[in-house]
Symmetry: C2
Subunit: 355 residues, 2 copies
């Protein structure tokens, strides 16, 4: 899933190049490329599909030159994750009705890749043997208020073969800090990573039961998938489809939902603070990726500026400094929640060219 | 005099376009243009001469399209102000041996223009009637440590016709704060504006007596001035000439030095603080010239950024934010003294392209 359009890291991320298409960690690879390469280590190229917005077709093909165009599923309208999953499910089923597959965001950070791939592999074995909807729960390391949580049935043990796999009791919305602390202490709550593993059969059934009107739109009538008619069919389906998330539409309703409890170092990189946390810092705690920066009395700052600009920063602590071709932002990290409002103001006052 | 190469307002001012060529106050006119237009109000165009560096010929002609090329005196090397005055003196003498003229920096701020022009006019009358070197002293309004001071002979009154004209007792270097306070209280000390008024005869004699070896180099041998041979002659003169200021070389030594005490609102705009002081501020005390800036919790900042960049600033107090085509500087105003060292570091580490 590489269709997000977030402007949370604005002006680094913009509508024309959202987060997944950015080398936000300064590693030399964008998050989409990192995600692709991670899965590519254990899956053949022909088994990897990217779902993204029609507007992001070219940037996707540019960033992943290996991927054949037929494996890039283009969403003509934004409809959240449930239609995305429905589209992918029916397309994959038309190629391989017995497929087991993973649904994963393309803009997350995975630190321990080996551990991640082990969880994925075990999850696929589980999905092959159970008509179940499996989600990956992340062992929380702090009382995050920015994540949804999954509560498990601690007593419930699937089988000795699937150690760490649990039946899901509830999905919860983002908690307040007090609640998050209770979650953390209880040992029953895991961060909802938004990564799912299931058989085409299991997710098809879940779509039929829980989102029948969405499912109908994407069913492979007249065998359109992987033909020249797919784009027109999908255009119609998305036009008629409502906006709904897979969590709300299926995961929170279905009975056969399981979680594999994992601990491979994960972040959705959803905030500047989390980006800061997971970035390499210099001796003064600064995250500076450009080599063309001179800093004096700079502490705990995130500096994202183009390499061809000489940037001289003096006397800033806990600031974000971002420069793009047409925007400069200087903002305390503590005020990052305000950036969303700033983006709205920019959209209103200045027009779309900066967003 | 428009030959300065200061990088005090770096990166706004650079070696390729120093302060005099910048619209540093955001008025729509550069300091050179303002200075030219100020004098143009009482002097015919043919009486105005610009002395500047050879490298600044084109920018000068671009900014002052009215001025004929023969009135732009080009210095092939930097030699401080004494050679500049010697060159101008001999060139002007070759055109009009009886001239009285004014020597003025091109990068200062004059607030009360009418009062300034009155002082200038009165000064020219004085210069025409006295073989004297007249300088303009500014009534100090605060104990500035960034200016040189002129001490007057308070008892000495030239004549009732020249009220406010005094004999100079001493020129002093930049004082420390304690001394500056004493200067201010005494009433005997005036800021040295670096603006001079004299007859060609008076300054010629002063050059002959105090800087004979400089004077000799610029004497109008073979009537070269205003001919095709002038440039080659000046190239030789500057090559052989030493680096020396008019203050040190003449004003501090000559006997016939006078000052006219003035109070027309003057600043040499030598620091970011003085620029801040003399700029128009918004309700939060910010000096922001770009209309494409959004500010949140911004106080007492100077923001100089290109109009085509959207600049979003949040939570800064007493900062300088300057952006140019290839440099971004964010620095507390209180650290402005460090900018000189930063410029030196930039020169060393990054090369000349940024300076």
């Amino acid at each position: 899933m590489a269709g997000g359009s977030g402007t949370r890291f604005w002006p680094l991320s913009k509508e024309t190049h959202p987060k997944q298409f950015i080398d936000i960690l300064g590693t030399g690879r964008t998050l989409l490329q990192q995600t692709f390469e991670r899965f590519r280590k254990i899956f053949p190229l022909e088994n990897i599909f990217i779902v993204t917005g029609l507007a992001y077709k070219q940037i996707t093909l540019d960033q992943l030159p290996e991927i054949p165009e037929n494996q890039v599923l283009l969403e003509p309208h934004r409809r959240n994750t449930a239609p995305c999953v429905a589209y992918a499910t029916h397309k994959i089923k038309s190629i391989c009705p017995d497929a087991n597959f993973i649904v994963s965001p393309a803009d997350h950070l995975i630190i321990n890749e080996l551990s991640f791939l082990e969880v994925i592999s075990k999850g696929l074995v589980f999905a092959a043997g159970h008509t179940a909807l499996l989600t990956i729960g992340i062992k929380p390391t702090s009382p995050q208020t920015g994540y949804g949580y999954i509560q498990i049935n601690t007593e419930d043990e699937i089988s000795s073969a699937f150690n760490g796999f649990k039946k899901v009791k509830t999905f919860t919305e983002k908690p307040d800090l007090e609640m998050a602390k209770i979650f953390l202490e209880s040992g029953e709550f895991f961060w909802n990573s938004g990564i799912f593993i299931w058989s085409a059969k299991a997710i098809s059934e879940a779509l039929e039961v829980n989102l029948p009107e969405v499912n109908t739109l994407f069913e492979n009538k007249n065998a359109v998938y992987n033909t020249v008619d797919e784009a027109a069919f999908i255009e119609n389906a998305y036009s008629d489809c409502r906006n709904i998330s897979i969590d709300y539409g299926i995961m929170e309703k279905a009975e056969n939902v399981y979680v594999v409890c994992a601990d491979f170092g994960w972040s959705d990189l959803g905030t500047w603070s989390s980006l800061y946390e997971h970035s390499t810092k210099d001796a003064n705690g600064n995250v500076i990726t450009s080599s063309n920066t001179l800093d004096y009395n700079l502490k705990n700052c995130i500096v994202k500026v183009p390499e061809d600009k000489l940037v001289v920063l003096n006397g800033l602590e806990n600031y974000i400094v971002v420069e793009t071709d047409n925007v400069l932002l200087v903002c305390p990290i503590s005020e990052e929640q305000e950036i969303k409002q700033i983006v709205n103001q920019v959209k209103m006052l200045k027009g779309g060219e900066y967003i």
